[in-house]
Amino acid sequence: MSRLEAKRPSLCKSEPLTSERVKATLSVLKGVVTSCYGPAGRLKQLHNGRGGSVCTTSQSAALLASLPVTQPILKILTTSVQNHVSCFSDCGLFTAILCCNLVEKVQGVGLTTTTAIKLNKHLLSLCTEYLKSEICGCRIPIDFGSTQLLLCLVRSLLTSKPACMLTREEVEHISTLILRAFLLTVPENAKDRIILGKSIIVPLKGQRVIDSTVLPGVLIEIPEVQVMKILPIKKSDSFKVALFCASLSGDLSETGEGTVVLSHGVSLENAVLDQLLNLGRQLVSDQVDLVMCQKVIHPSLKQFLRTHGVIAMDRVGVALMEPLSKMTGTQPIGSLNSVSPSSYGSVKDWCTAKFGFKHFFHLIPNETTVCSLLLCNRNDTAWDELKLTCQTALHALQLTIKEPYVLLGGGCTETHLAAYIRHKTRDEPESILKGDGCTQTELQLMSEAFCSALETLAGSLEHDGGEILTDRKYGHFWSVQADSPSAVNWPDLLSRCGCGLYSSQEELGWCFLRGAHHPFMPQTCLPREASGSANDLTLDCFTAKLSGLQVAVETANLILDLSYVIEDRN
């Protein structure tokens, strides 16, 4: 019986952006994401009334994943940010805030959407061209000879996630660990193409953060009982390893679609067990020292192997198969009958180790591209946040290896970029318009909106009511404490700019970011020594930020372009 039900007609709304409700929800979302932004960002506690754990976070990935959004326009925005985050891990809040700001500012300008969208695109390409060009004044090339800048990048990432609840020393500790874990995955003798290894994050909750550590190789958690059974065998060189992906539990595998008829007294279980024991004999005679299986090993086979001095590990799980196979050089074995000797691999050594209250079986490889990052934090929510941050940092490092640049963080890239665009649109508007049918006045209006969206974004790093300044030489970001006396000597109040590259000792001509601006050309071409000298810079991942900028502008254009919303209410 088919169920017949008339479909309800859809709800069709015109000009959705002008509606008060949409404006209100947009500003609520903007408030939520803006208040999370940066090292001083406020934390959000998400708890579902229907159950589940409470999550304390300030990261866009965690925040947007559990935020229920029904408004279609907000949905576009949040899914776009989430998609960005799943590609690049970093710069999610940046994208979200910029997109909200752009929508708001462009609406305020009052140009027709056609013009606004067209100009937005021109301004975006101006930004991306500048950021990719050699003269870019907010981009630092990475020298892989030193770890200084990479460490700065990781440290900036960790400090910008306050929900990890790390102290200063802990930040230092964790960022060195992350960098070490990353460097361990880089193969030593790479040919033309580098294939990075893997760093596995092993949870250890309830311990001090300082106890976190990085170990080369793989850690497999084992119950305490088994620890006793692993006897230290000392051999001169390496140990032989066999890794099974087929089940060794003794159950019958595929018998086909037809029927199998058994005569009375024939026990297939026995036959399979015989087969397994034969396999065991072969393994012993091949002098295998360690047998690991993705699935279950039959207790009889386990016992047999143990009596012959072979260590058996089962239920390794599919997640560890690839790193194990990579690390030991084994071919996962899918056959129960006979094993080709070429599919065995080797490890340098193994040992058992106890971290916190957990016991681990630690495999030490001959050649390291796989490592384990043992991550500790005090409680579950903080650990989850820290884990997410570590993954983000590792991903950012991987992206940096592909495109060896970093951007200045701490709001300096945004203010610098805004200054650059202001100057460019004032100075050479024809080259930007390219005869597109827009007037120069329209371009001025739009560039003002675009720049103030960028500057508001930078300004949202400040949460404590402080003032934001910018200098008229580099166009960097400077913040002043909230209750500082006005009309004083600025160099006394300021110390360093947002990214930490420049100090207030120079006379830079500060002015308020929010005030009226006279366009100036910010100094391009970063001095070479600048990158080397400062060791406490705030940096951002280049690839992620560039893509975030593009996605934010494209999404804003998309939202501005909407003329109708058709809601299917079935």
């Binding site: 576009i76 899914t79 776009s80 992906c245 029927t259 299917d568």
Partner: protein
Amino acid sequence: MAVVGSVRAALQVAEVLETIVSCCLGPEGRQILCTKPTGEVLLSRDGGLLLKALHLEHPIARMMVACVSSHLRKTGDGAKTFIIFLCHLLREFHAITDKEKDSLFFKNIQTHGRHWKNCCQWKFISQALLTFQTQVLDYVMDHYLSRHFLSIFSSSTKKRTLCRSSLEMLLEAFFCGRVGRNNHTFISQLMCDYFFNCMSCESEFEEVFELVDDCFVELKVGVTGLPVSDSRIIAGLVLHRDFSVYCPADGDIRIVIVTETIQPLFSTSGSEFILNSEQQFQTSQFWIKEKTKAIVKHLQSENVRLLLSSVKQPDLVIYYARLNGISVVECLSSEELSLIQKVTGIAPFVLPQASSQYEISNTALVKFCKPLILRSKRYVHLGLISTCSFIPHCIVLCGPVQGLVEQHEGALHGAFKMLRQLFKDLNLNYVTRASDQNCTSSTNVYKNSRERNQLSEIVNSSVQRPYQGTVVKNEDELAKTHSYSKVCSNLVVPGIELETYIPCSIPEVMPANTYQTDETLRYLSPDKAKIIDDHEPFIESDSANSRTENTRIEISFENVQVTKIAEKRSILPVRYKSLEMSASQSYCFSCIPAGCVLPVGGNFEILLHYYLLNYAKKFQQSEETMVSIIIANALLGIPKTLYKSKKGNKCFPQIYTRALHALQTNQPMVSNPAGLESVAGKYQLLTSVLQCLTNILTIDLVINIKRLPQEIYDEDSEEEL
């Protein structure tokens, strides 16, 4: 409850739809956001999709949507224009009936009730619409409009080859109406590049279009979270799967396709496997293992480095494949496999039953086979070597949200559909009204030819102008065209003496004539029109000379028609009349040739409007002329909507007067067109709208039934049993 079905009600519905649809029409159109009950968010400018998403309740609206979707199934384009045109038509009809309540041709039915009278009146009009379609529209298309057609093919060679710049213009115009304002140039460039990359030789493009249209889902990869500008074309085929086993290989890589597990199983379905002892079980397992090993070894010895499987292979097969350095991709869809088979021309590998020695014939070479990572998802990237005219390439479409990626996918697919339609000839058949009886025929024919002649005056002058245009462009051509016209006039002279020469002699000239070239685009018709003009004066003079020759004149006239058709390389007329038969009607078969395009931006509508009005002027008041005028006026609604937001020089009245002026003075309407659109598509749209309108007009009552639909039993079949 019954609702009176009237033009007024239909107009109200159409106007509502028009307001929604017109906001996303044309290059200035905006996006519409649709949410689905599942929570998905879709961005769209596709009219058909929007109309479906509205879930309309009104019966007339539903009828319109049904008409639109059946039109879309045919052509894949024009849903928005459909609604706008329909709305304008209804508006015109509504206005006209308000004005002339008792119009001249409905006087006889005044005794009926007013509503029923109205209905009859609508019935009349809908019939008039049908006759318009069969008699006027195709005729006007064929006789007047066709001389403005441009061709998408470059005319440098005799074969049909695509002209890249025209294709770019066509696609640009298409995507202007389909994707967001910032992306249409990018997407149309991408599609153009894709198409020219995929084509192995320039003349076999139709096959490529067909294949891409059919297998589009397999040929594109959607990636969310990246900016649109990261979309690109990848050489080779991307399979939406990851390697189960990946062994890097260089050099001579061969692939095989399997559709079953390589490992022999204990028993196949429908059979029984009897086990008598445990040894037997172990031996059979051993045999299975050895057999699998042997097959994989053999594959390896045949240089097979990649196994493409439509099913999941057991662990044992994977293990041996890995040992032998064979990469494996499992669980491929049947569509993916059939695409690979089409491209490479190989058949699935059939497992040998008994012997261990066998040949593997069905392997194909690939250039490379490697993993491809897009947004941390892994794909299989194959460099297939094609054996057909399609060189495999894939489009990677990026966008910040899934909705946008889907929009671009839909637009690309629609573009392929549109192009496929464009490369087909579209037949036009129409009835030309000629004489009824022999006695009156003389005057009629005379009158007819007079009319023609009047028209041909316009035609004549309009023909000369393009020629002059081309003269400026190309001097060689001048000589050519001159020689052609010379040939024509030469041939016409003997034609006066003996009419029967005409049908055979003229087609000989024409093929040469149609190959007349110019730089990128070609005017299809001027020569042809010229020939007709050359004939008609002579016919006229003939008939003026002697009235007894009437029948002959008629035939010669028909013959001219015949030659005209012949030159267009289409079917010859089916009915060829004998001398004695009086010509009451003559059926003409013609076609819009493949690849005909017009500049975008309401050009088709303005042209048709102009010629329909011209046509209507020549006849006295009749239903037909009235319908023609109404349709002509309604056609203007489309350019009106297109230029709604434009100001100054680009506003609609300016454009319209400029176009009319150009037509009257026989200048080209658009000097440098920004985009092109398919004529056949426009024509089909027009006929679909007229059909929809006749459907609406013939309904007098809408009866709303609140019951569940009853099941309909097929009584006939039961009786037969």
